[in-house]
Symmetry: C2
Subunit: 369 residues, 2 copies
């Protein structure tokens, strides 16, 4: 039974209204700190009556547990680090990443977690930040978005026994969520071929990324499936930037027998490609069909509106986070690879207005090489 102890002179100077500790609650309620702690964490073996009494005090004084202290004791911070490549100085403005970030953040907060953002800077690499975050900051898990095949820290994170998941990149044996860019790219070519194109060009992104590589592979497979041959002058190499798309397009479009369609490895390169065609007096989609990939916000505002292979980055972020939290809470198998479908969004730049119709009218006999 609780002892009737007075609050005593427990108000420390400068302490604002709700600045209490678990000690205060124990004293005010007449129970021990442990009991209060158990109540706080919803332990079922506390008598309903005492639970009530303790909660009354907690709410009366507006007590809030201190996360730092809790984390220290529990050795869990309820914080997840999101590691993003330093594509530009302004990562948040990059639509591709910002979209997944939104999904991640929402899922995290919905589950009581917080996120901190870590860019892959030189300092990150040099100081071994990928492991320090676990030790120093006590982060519970890590989300690695859009890593490169050449990023060595990825292996170290997984092999260190910490829990992490790859967001839209893939490595054998590690948990990840990726979009099916192979199948998607294949379908882009298929779509183009079904519209009568026989000479279909390609501007690659970075093949050191899973996304870029899969799109490149899908492009080749698509060509093969349609009985089309791969022409070297029709493919250029970019790095996902608008400028690189522009340059690759100039090269491709200058070739002796230029393609009637070009599939760009992402939307920004597709835009660069369109700009280039425009300058060369080649109308899009009239004389050249262009298809991008990602479906960034810009795609529907650009003219001609970009036909693109949509990648659901928001959903991918959500899914990856769910996987991570699932692992942290014990549920969910491990490791697990989740692949989400891509979607061909047909707009103006490819010259076809309705994807469904085109797809339905098409039959297997497209392999007329």
């Amino acid at each position: 039974m609780p002892k009737l102890s007075r609050p005593a002179g427990s108000t420390r100077s400068g302490a604002s209204a709700g600045d209490h500790t678990i000690r205060d609650i124990a004293r005010l309620s007449g129970f021990s700190r442990s009991t209060v702690s158990l109540v706080l964490n919803g332990d079922p073996r506390i008598a309903p009556s005492t639970r009530r009494r303790i909660w009354d005090v907690i709410e009366r004084v507006g007590y809030q547990p201190n996360c730092m202290a809790r984390s220290l004791a529990r050795k869990r911070s309820m914080i997840v680090a999101v590691v993003v490549p330093r594509v530009s100085a302004r990562i948040f403005s990059d639509y591709y990443f910002s979209e997944s970030m939104s999904g991640i953040n929402e899922t995290l907060t919905a589950n009581g977690y917080r996120m901190i953002i870590q860019m892959v800077t030189e300092n990150f690499l040099k100081t071994g930040m990928h492991l320090r975050l676990f030790r120093e900051r006590q982060i519970d898990g890590m989300l690695l978005v859009g890593t490169l095949d050449t990023d060595d820290y990825v292996e170290e994170v997984f092999e260190s026994g910490n829990t992490a998941v790859l967001v839209n990149s893939w490595r054998p044996g590690y948990s990840c969520v990726v979009a099916d860019n192979f199948e998607g790219a294949r379908r882009v070519v298929d779509h183009l071929a079904s519209m009568g194109h026989r000479r279909i060009g390609y501007i690659s992104g970075l093949d050191s990324t899973t996304v870029g590589l899969r799109r490149s592979e899908g492009y080749k497979q698509g060509l093969a499936d349609c009985g089309l041959e791969s022409v070297e002058e029709c493919v250029g190499y970019g790095d996902f930037s608008e400028q690189s798309g522009y340059e690759a397009a100039r090269q491709i479009l200058s070739s002796a027998e230029r393609p009637t369609a070009i599939f760009a490895g992402n939307d920004m390169m597709a835009i660069g490609c369109v700009e280039c065609a425009r300058e060369m007096g080649i109308s899009v989609p009239g004389q050249l069909a262009v298809v991008g990939a990602d479906d960034i916000a810009l795609s529907s505002y650009f003219r001609p509106k970009l036909t693109t292979l949509r990648q659901p980055m928001f959903d991918i972020g959500c899914l990856a986070t769910e996987l991570l939290l699932g692992k942290l809470s014990g549920t969910s198998e491990w490791p697990v690879e989740k692949v989400v479908p891509t979607e061909l969004i047909v707009r103006e730049s490819c010259g076809a207005e309705c994807a469904e119709r085109t797809a339905r009218n098409r039959t297997e006999d497209t392999t007329d090489g």
Copy 2:
């Protein structure tokens, strides 16, 4: 002098390579925990020799201090919370905010701080999260971006004695960084008038935001300065969304004597406005000059390229963060209001190709209303 104590069986099971505590360092170096702590924090009154010896051990075993424990003891977390309005479910995709976020994040990390993001959700309001963050998470400071005049929590944050700064919003007596949208809007009107426009319309954003209000006021002032009268049919009311811009434009452009120019309260509304004009068969900029505001990335990709009143959100984010950190470290006066200039970016949608020329040819005698 250090005692020669052996490492003893201090290796706990499951401890990875660098999983040591300050105790281990003390034992291994032969000094006390206090001394190690002092060395760690660069206290000058430790003998260079011992400092060396301790650092040797630290680096040899790869010791990393635990942030949680440190924060608990120091009562400082080195974490700043960024509070953003829930304009959409996907805050990061909103260019306006993402840009400032980049500035904030960079400045924060450059100074050893981390950021956590807090959206203003119903839960945020209901649970008094704005104050809980200080207590529970022990955050050191708060950055409030784009708050509404109706947001009551703002006052509470500042009055609670915690340190915070407003990012692109203003309240009397509180520290903030704002863009000079009043002067900027004034100049937009001035520019339009100097091009011969006498009937200049306006689509307002939310006047409950500092940004929106200042632009509205600047618009009126600009009209007055140019000796132009404000015509009611020429102004519409939007909420910063493309859709609202579209609708306001339809109303304005349907009026008996429609304006020859429209200044929209932000770029998205300007885009909506252009789309509407297009549908109504009004060419831009031929029959209607349109000017937006913010200079979001889309502005230069949209056709016609948007003339816009640029607001340096990245810089604003940096500045606000510097102010906050300055206050936290004792330097920097308080409170302080910083206003940064806006810039008129002249592109296609206003029908003027060169701002400088126009500006130079213009003299004071524009007040011929």
